[in-house]
Amino acid sequence: MLLGAIRKNSLSIYKIWKKGKKMKKKIMVVDDNRDIIDMVRDGLEHFSKGYEIIGAGSGKECFELLKKNQIPDLILLDIMMPEMSGWDVFARLKENPGWRSIPVVFITVKSDPYSKGFGKTTADDYIEKPFAIMDLKERIDKILNR
């Protein structure tokens, strides 16, 4: 009987664990600064186990991952990157019907009113660096829970 109860409990725990794993939200961070990717990973995972962070060091790497079917629930996108800027990455994402609906949040040091204004109008959010990880989490959750 005891063995049966343990077995039943284990099954429930496994189900909850599996459900939790399934519900993990994939966040792709596209930034040429690897420290930012690590910081976001550490920060978000510290607050919650509900995120899975995918890092991409450039626009090119971002598209390679997407082509390999690594489709995230949200993309955090830096603007000032060499080769392909965040603006161009954004446009290319929106050109593709398979990626168009992925929410994009700009994370950038660009604080001029034009970048911020047009960024806010077009993307899902615009966050200036440096940012507090708690604030980032709240804004991500807000978009994901829409």
């Binding site: 800027s85 603006w87 161009d88 954004f90 446009a91 290319r92 929106k94 050109e95 593709n96 019907p97 168009r100 001029d112 009113p113 034009y114 970048s115 911020k116 204004g117 047009f118 960024g119 806010k120 109008t121 077009t122």
Partner: protein
């Protein structure tokens, strides 16, 4: 070979005429033309009453269109051929543009091909008639491209000046010439001189090299130029652009450009249908330029797409603006504006345009004012006036944001 009777000769000639004209227009039109000419010739050649040309093509076919009574056979040859000469010449004149340089030649060849019909060259010389016709046409077409082009440009500037200040009018026409120069290189021979303080005084110089261009090519170019200028301005449907242009150009020059193949009625249709389309295109183009200067072309397009999508439910007319979302990187070329937008009421379009501008700049904070100022400067006075007529008051929008 026995000589053909008058009745046979005239029947052959008339049938050939009907055939040749019919190929250029329609057979029923051919019968109407010949019948009209015959009636005009009755007072001079009474015997032509023996001929009947009827428009019975639909019911009985070609063969019954021409019937000749044998009474005509007794007419004296000189008088008979004189009538045929006049008949052909007048028919060609009636045909106007439908008779080209080759009409008489073709007629001549077709008549030569008729078995047994040997025309008396001394009395009816179609070869000479062809020569006369070409000489007459050439004289009529003795047009100097440089002179007529100068007149057309002047008329276009005066015409545009009725809507915009002189400097803007000159700029509009000059821009249209430059745009066409991409396809018609010889337009580089046109120079419009003006200085910033000229207060509307301008000088047009058309270099003589342009006279080497075939007049019909020049005609085609002038047609496009008038069209281009017309399209860059919104003209009220009730106050025809073409009527004003005709007045500015004057009858003599008007006749010349008509000879060169310029079809003003066609331009009228094109121009009146393009007003709204142009304003929308220019508005979106200006927004894309301003946004892409700070971001990228593709992102600017994505922004305009987002703005339009935000407003689509509220403004039905935006269904006539399509953006190919797979071609953001191509910029403004990815936007297509359907001609149906020209039929929309101006105030409705104005409302939509105002909101497009407002939403595009809504997150710019203290820079919104500067954004609208930049928009005004870039789009230019001409389009601002057009937008104002649609009820778009950008000054008011600026005040609201201030």
């Amino acid at each position: 070979m026995p000589e053909l009777k008058n009745s046979e000769i005239i029947e052959y000639i008339l049938r050939t005429l009907v055939d040749k004209i019919g190929r250029r227009t329609s057979e029923s039109f051919a019968v109407v033309v010949i019948d009209t000419v015959m009636k005009e010739l009755y007072p001079r050649y009474g015997f032509l009453r023996y001929i009947k040309v009827e428009n019975t093509l639909y019911s009985e076919g070609m063969s019954s269109a021409v019937s000749v009574m044998p009474d005509i056979d007794s007419v004296e040859a000189t008088e008979f051929y004189k009538a045929i000469n006049d008949l052909i010449k007048m028919t060609v004149r009636h045909l106007e543009r439908n008779a080209d340089f080759f009409f008489i030649k073709e007629l001549h060849e077709a008549i030569d091909d008729i078995d047994g019909l040997v025309l008396n060259d001394e009395k009816l010389d179609l070869g000479f008639m062809q020569f006369e016709y070409i000489a007459e046409k050439k004289q009529a077409l003795d047009i100097k491209n440089s002179e007529i082009t100068e007149q057309v440009i002047k008329a276009l500037i005066y015409l545009t000046n009725r809507k915009f200040p002189e400097a803007e009018a000159i700029k509009t026409v000059d821009a249209a010439v430059k745009e066409l120069e991409k396809n018609y290189g010889f337009l580089k021979n046109i120079q419009i001189y003006t200085t910033p303080d000229s207060k509307g005084i301008f000088e047009i110089r058309v270099l003589h090299d342009i006279n080497r261009v075939w007049i019909f090519t020049m005609g085609e170019t002038l047609q496009k130029l008038i069209e281009e200028v017309g399209k860059s301005v919104t003209w009220d449907a009730d106050r025809s652009f073409i009527e004003v242009f005709k007045n500015e150009l004057g009858e003599e020059h008007l006749a010349t450009i008509t000879k060169m193949g310029v079809n003003l009625d066609q331009i009228k249709l094109v121009v009146l249908q393009q007003g709204h389309e142009q304003v929308v295109k220019k508005t979106l183009e200006t927004l894309v330029n301003i946004i892409s200067k700070r971001t990228s072309k593709g992102f600017a397009m994505a922004t305009v797409d987002t703005v339009l999508n935000t407003l689509r439910e509220k403004h039905d007319i935006l269904q006539y603006i399509k953006i190919d979302t797979s071609r953001f990187e191509e910029g403004i070329d990815a936007i297509s504006i359907m001609p149906e937008i020209n039929n929309v009421e101006s105030y409705k379009l104005g409302k939509a345009l105002r909101e497009i501008i407002k939403i595009s700049g809504r997150n710019l904070g203290h820079k919104t004012f500067a954004f609208i100022e930049e928009f005004k400067n870039q789009i230019g006075e001409k389009y601002l006036l057009e937008m104002e007529k649609m009820g778009v008051n950008l000054h008011f929008l600026e005040l609201k944001f201030q």
